[in-house]
Every structure is written in structure tokens, then in C-alpha cells.
Symmetry: C2
Subunit: 177 residues, 2 copies
């Protein structure tokens, strides 16, 4: 039965890694050049927007972290060391999912401003000029949200793996071995 959870977790992690890597690729290879005025060209890349750079770092780190977690399956551990490992997994999984989700939502907010502009702040729309650039970023945001949901499910599995070890009667007491 242990096998069934492990298989589910590996499956979720692999899909999450693929989506995170896809997000990173969509961000890195997103570039558009447009004639702004007569012959003056303007080129936009992810480097022009801070939050895109941050999303790139966060999604690559999250993909790397999930990759490490997959490697963990090859070396099995037992006893108090195992208990320590599942706790660390739970905490790192939580940090990874919150970071990814938050960075992606920050980018989503920036994208909304770029798409609609802001009357109150007197900010102009950007996406009507750089439409293709924006569309690719929208794809990246979508991928990253799906990856975040999968990672949230993984962190629930991690919590299950930690807390089922504890007694249902006594506070933070491990079950008799």
C-alpha cells in the first residue's frame, strides 16, 4: 500500500517538474521586437520585468527541488532518521508551493495591469503593443498555476506521511513500534 502513495507522489512530482520547466522555457524564450516610432525598434524580453526574472528563478528552483525529491526514492531510510526526513520534506514542500503560487500570482497581477492599464495610476496598457509577448506569458502563468495545484496536492501527501505516524490519542506521541 505504501507503494500506491509513492507511485501517486512520483507521478504528481514528474508532471509538476514538466510544467515548471515548461513555465521557465516559456518565460526565457519569450521575446518580441516592435517598431515603436518610425525606425526605432524596441525589443522586450523577460529581463525587462523583475517579476518575470523572479518567476524564472522560483520555477527552476522548484523543478530542481522536486527532482531531488525524486532522487530520494532511490535511497530508502529507516527509524528516527526517516521521521526527520519526512518532516523536512513536508516543510520544504510547503515552502516550495507557497513560493511558486505567490510568485505566479504576483506575475498575474502585473499581467493584469499590463493588459488593462490603470486609470487611477495613469498607467497605459502594454499588451496591445506586445500582444504575442503577453500571450506567451499568459501560457506560462497557466502552466505555473497547474504546477502549483499539483504541488499543493504533494504537500498534502507529505503531511499525510508525517502525521499518520502520530498517536490519535496522545499529543505528538509516535505510535508504538
Amino acid at each position: 500500500m505504501e507503494f500506491r502513495i509513492a507511485r501517486g507522489e512520483v507521478f504528481l512530482r514528474v508532471i509538476a517538474i514538466l510544467l515548471l520547466v515548461l513555465t521557465a522555457f516559456l518565460v526565457v524564450f519569450d521575446t518580441q521586437t516592435k517598431v515603436v516610432f518610425l525606425t526605432i525598434e524596441k525589443k522586450v524580453t523577460y529581463k525587462d520585468v523583475d517579476v518575470l526574472k523572479i518567476l524564472l528563478y522560483v520555477s527552476s528552483s522548484a523543478a530542481g527541488y522536486n527532482m531531488l525529491q525524486l532522487c530520494k526514492y532511490s535511497c530508502s531510510s529507516k527509524g528516527s532518521y526517516e521521521m526527520c526526513m519526512v518532516w523536512i520534506s513536508l516543510l520544504l514542500d510547503q515552502i516550495a508551493v507557497y513560493l511558486t503560487f505567490a510568485t505566479n500570482t504576483a506575475l498575474f497581477e502585473a499581467a493584469i495591469f499590463a493588459f488593462t492599464g490603470s486609470e487611477a495610476f495613469q498607467w497605459l496598457k502594454v499588451c496591445n503593443k506586445f500582444t504575442r509577448f503577453c500571450e506567451q506569458i499568459a501560457g506560462a502563468i497557466l502552466c505555473c498555476y497547474v504546477a502549483s495545484i499539483l504541488m499543493a496536492m504533494i504537500s498534502i501527501i507529505s503531511a499525510y506521511k508525517v502525521f499518520r505516524m502520530y498517536s490519535p490519542k496522545r499529543f505528538l506521541r509516535l505510535k508504538g513500534k
Copy 2:
């Protein structure tokens, strides 16, 4: 011992509610009027910025939800009904913390744009005009982040309450009663 977890959870929820309510108040009562040009005055409130409105709704809902969770302690439940309740609590806690954290991070991103402007998008700084308004929003963001961290801790406690009921050996099998 059950009492100790319950006490910790109630304490965390009460602090989280206070911080969420404080966030909502900081957002609602944040207003600044400034002379923009000669005698033309401009007044900014939370209604001018969509993400502030959304944060207001989310933080009030999260405070209300945590209040309901506190009420739950007055009526105790047993058996399969209890198991159903802890699962629902876990899922709602997760949704509440992700929503609050994400909305707050979206506001944080908007605040960064308002504070620094954006050269790439040709957006002007706003916070140098409406400094006091921005400072109060910064306070709201800080409160909401602390509340989010507390709610993340609450959701870990919820996960503990659910998963310690399960057998450490068999997959999703409840411990013998």
C-alpha cells in the same frame, strides 16, 4: 493532551482574525486627498484599485471563516461525522491560506510598481505623490502576511488532526477503534 492542540489552534485563530480585521480596516480607512494641478484635487481610496477591493473581500471572508471555526469548538462531534468535519476543516483552511497569501502577494506586486514605477512599461511612480496612502497600504500588507503565516500554521495543525487518525501501515485505513 487534545486540549493543548485545541488551545494552540484557538490562540492562532484569534490572532489571525485580529490581524485580518486590522488589514481590512487599514485598507478601508486609507484615503488621501492631494492637489494635483492648481486647484484640482484628487482623492484616492481603496475603491480606485481593484486589488485593494479584492484584498478587502478576501481578508474579511478569511476572518469570518476563522470566526466560524472558533464557534465550532462549542459543539463537539463524534465518529464518522467528526472525520468528515476535520477533512472539511483541512480543505477550507488550505483554501483560506492560499487565497489570502496569493491576494496579498498580488497587492505587494502592485505596490512595488506603484513605489518604483516601471521603465519597461513606461509607468510612473505613484507613491511619491500619495505617500501616506502607500504607507498605510504597506502596513496592511505586513499585517496580512503575518496572518497568512499564522493560517499556514493552522492548516498544518488541521492536517495533523486529520492524518493522525490513519494507520501508519495501511493506505488510508483508519486506525482500529
